[in-house]
């Protein structure tokens, strides 16, 4: 009996294992290998495997600015997503009543349109003669020739907009599970609403905060669409550098090395972050 159960388990794992093997392990191996190719080759004459670790140093030296910028923009977008997403998820979980399901559908609704089209429409919203810019100029927040497009503001706003649902959904799942009687108990025990939030609601929602920030930060830091459509070369993030190295410059070893650096950096940051959040003893 137990042996048969074991066999069934392995059979069930098989499709996922094949999928991961074909679409993750092999491409990953190829990426690692490419990052160590001799950079003097090209896709016309072919590459030679020379274990050229200098590719990494070269990529870092040359592209550290877009790399740091990507992490910075990703962190900013994650921060804004957390603020906006927390308020929204809290409202849906505790205040929406019978509108709960409808509001959740509305959070997901943007996914029915292409990512690209939605980002392009932001280009219209933030356009130089658009109402947002005009209004900000009217308020003298922007100068007469001030603009939003091709600024960090537009890029971070685009990132925030695009990855907000990834923040809201895990946050909602966590906040919705909190027993409202615990909040009553905290107010019975002399905690005013603000203290009650930070002592009870926030710690109990931490699992959602951790998964939401990861789901937002990782794709946001690697994104290149928002920079390309809403920013300018001055806001170049590492994602767009990698993309142009692969498709325009055809410098495969540098592109692969930069991809690896980005991946390792994010992995280290995530591990550090999860470890720290983990010590807070998630429920």
């Amino acid at each position: 009996m137990t042996r048969r159960k074991g066999l069934v388990g392995y059979l069930l794992l098989l499709p996922a294992a094949i999928w991961l093997g074909v679409f993750f392990v092999i491409p990953f191996y190829s990426l690692v290998a490419t990052s160590l190719f001799d950079p003097s080759g090209s896709d016309v004459v072919g590459y030679e495997m020379t274990y050229h670790f200098a590719n990494y140093a070269d990529a870092l030296r040359e592209y550290w600015v877009p790399l740091v910028r990507a992490l910075w923009y990703g962190a900013l977008a994650t921060f804004f997503c957390l603020i906006l997403g927390y308020v929204l998820a809290y409202a849906i979980a505790f205040k929406a009543g019978r509108w709960k399901n409808l509001m959740l559908v509305l959070v997901i609704a943007p996914f029915f349109t292409s990512f690209l089209v939605r980002t392009l429409s932001w280009k219209l919203i933030l356009a130089d003669d658009g109402f947002v810019v005009n209004f900000l100029q009217f308020l003298h927040i922007l100068g007469a020739d001030g603009r939003l497009l091709a600024t960090p503001v537009a890029v971070v706003a685009g990132l925030t907009y695009n990855f907000l649902p990834f923040m809201v959904l895990p946050l909602f799942a966590s906040i919705d599970k909190i027993d409202p009687r615990l909040i009553e108990a905290s107010s019975d025990l002399y905690a005013n609403p603000v203290v009650g939030f930070f002592k009870v609601t926030w710690p109990l929602s931490l699992p959602g905060v951790v998964s939401g920030t990861l789901l937002t930060f990782i794709p946001a830091a690697g994104d290149f669409i928002n920079v390309q459509l809403l920013g300018s070369p001055n806001q170049r993030m590492v994602g767009s550098v990698i993309q142009s190295l692969f498709t325009d410059a055809n410098d495969y070893p540098a592109a692969a090395a930069l991809s690896m650096i980005l991946m390792i950096l994010i992995l280290v940051l995530v591990l550090f972050y999860v470890r720290r959040a983990g010590t807070e003893e998630l429920l």
Binding site: D179, A185, L189, V200
Partner: protein, 388 residues
């Protein structure tokens, strides 16, 4: 404070009353009135029980005292202070919740310390240690609530509320989730702690036995109003309504017509048999009423047998059911008018066991009977009492 105007006979003005006072408190949820024009005085240091079936408004009353609900109208004062609209975190009241509502992300020590820390109390750790000692949980201080048993969680909830030394401690069916044996020992424990700390306890429960064993004053609530309030023995021995008669223990209620009202005795014609009830135990002004008698107050005997109950003798009964419980025997006797009367006889060994089908005579002392308003439903409160 216009409500005080009627209080010329009240023991003290609201500002001087040291206990908890509710005046004309009403709470409506839409068209449903959960609590209807409630007046209540709970003296300082009392162990007060609010007893009633689910949905009678007792929990709503408790939540209004805690500040978790706001009364639709009326006023609540505590130790002379009007707290009707005070925020829950600003009143000297703590609650032991039915679900315990322990904070799952904090350990037992931190849970108990929660209220003291919010009030920036000094020497929190030592106070918590003392409190955990009182509820015998010292060894569990660093565990999380989910690692404790139901009884232990209950004691944590109690400690977490008690440590703040509130003016009033509210207990919302705190023993409801425990099994019977644990519940009995927690009842004794709670009573002991209440005597030790001397705080006012308001205990909400639907378990009449729990209310009677623990509280010094019991208020029986039904449909948003208090039916009767008093010491447990008074409520049991002299209920004023059919609801109280049935909800607290069991009662035989027999229809009768009032034939005479003397200064000390009311005489009632009960299906052709004259019985009497002391005036102080008559709770109706009408011509008809329900004669009430507790099953253990009814004596059973052979026809013509002289029983120790001068006054009311009811002949012509036929035994329809006998259940031998051990400490007592429960008889069901069909009377000539068709009604079945319950009789509990203690198993003293001095009387023989009667058998089904035997002709018997019933008898009780007039001072044990009570007379209730005929307009009330004779089965009010009965089913709920069976459930608990």
């Amino acid at each position: 404070m216009s409500q005080v105007a009627e209080g010329t006979d009240a023991p003290a003005a609201d500002e001087e009353y040291g206990g908890l006072r509710l005046r004309n408190v009403t709470k409506s949820f839409g068209p449903f009135t959960a609590v209807d024009d409630l007046d209540l005085d709970v003296p300082r240091g009392a162990f007060f029980a609010l007893l009633g079936p689910s949905g009678c408004g007792k929990t709503t009353t408790l939540r209004m005292v805690a500040g978790l609900e706001t009364p639709t109208s009326g006023s609540i004062t505590l130790a002379g202070q009007d707290i009707t609209y005070a925020k829950p975190y600003r009143r000297p009241v703590n609650t032991v919740f039915q679900s315990y509502a322990l904070f799952p992300h904090l350990d037992i020590h931190e849970n108990v310390a929660f209220g003291l820390k919010r009030r920036k109390s000094r020497d929190v750790d030592n106070q918590v240690r003392e409190m955990l000692e009182l509820v015998e949980l010292t060894s569990q201080a660093r565990k999380k609530p989910t690692q404790l048993s139901g009884g232990q969680q209950q004691r944590v909830a109690l400690a977490r509320a008690l440590i703040n030394k509130p003016e009033v401690l509210l207990l919302d069916e705190p023993l409801g989730a425990l099994d019977l044996k644990l519940r009995r020992s927690m009842q004794i424990e709670l009573k002991r702690i209440q005597v030790d700390v001397g705080l006012t306890f308001i205990h909400v429960t639907h378990d009449q036995e729990e209310a009677m064993t623990m509280a010094d004053t019991v208020a029986v609530m039904n449909a948003g109003v208090i039916e009767q309030m008093g010491a447990p023995a008074d409520l049991y021995e002299n209920p004023k309504s059919t609801f109280v008669a049935n909800f607290l223990g069991q009662s035989n209620l027999i229809e009768g017509t009032i034939t005479d009202r003397a200064s000390d005795l009311v005489t009632v014609d009960m299906h052709g048999i004259g019985v009497s009830v002391p005036t102080g135990r008559s709770h109706t002004d009408g011509d008809r009423g329900w004669i009430g008698i507790r099953p253990e107050k009814v004596l059973i005997g052979e026809p013509g047998e002289s029983l120790d109950a001068p006054g009311n003798t009811i002949p012509g009964g036929v035994l329809t059911d006998v259940s031998f419980v051990g400490v007592s025997t429960q008889y069901l006797v069909r009377m000539p008018w068709g009604q079945e009367i319950q009789v509990f006889e203690q198993n003293t060994g001095r009387r023989r066991l009667f058998r089904t089908g035997e002709q018997v005579e019933l008898s009780w002392r007039p001072e044990y009977a009570f007379l209730l308003d005929h307009a009330q439903d004779a089965s009010a409160g009965a089913q709920k009492a069976d459930e608990s």
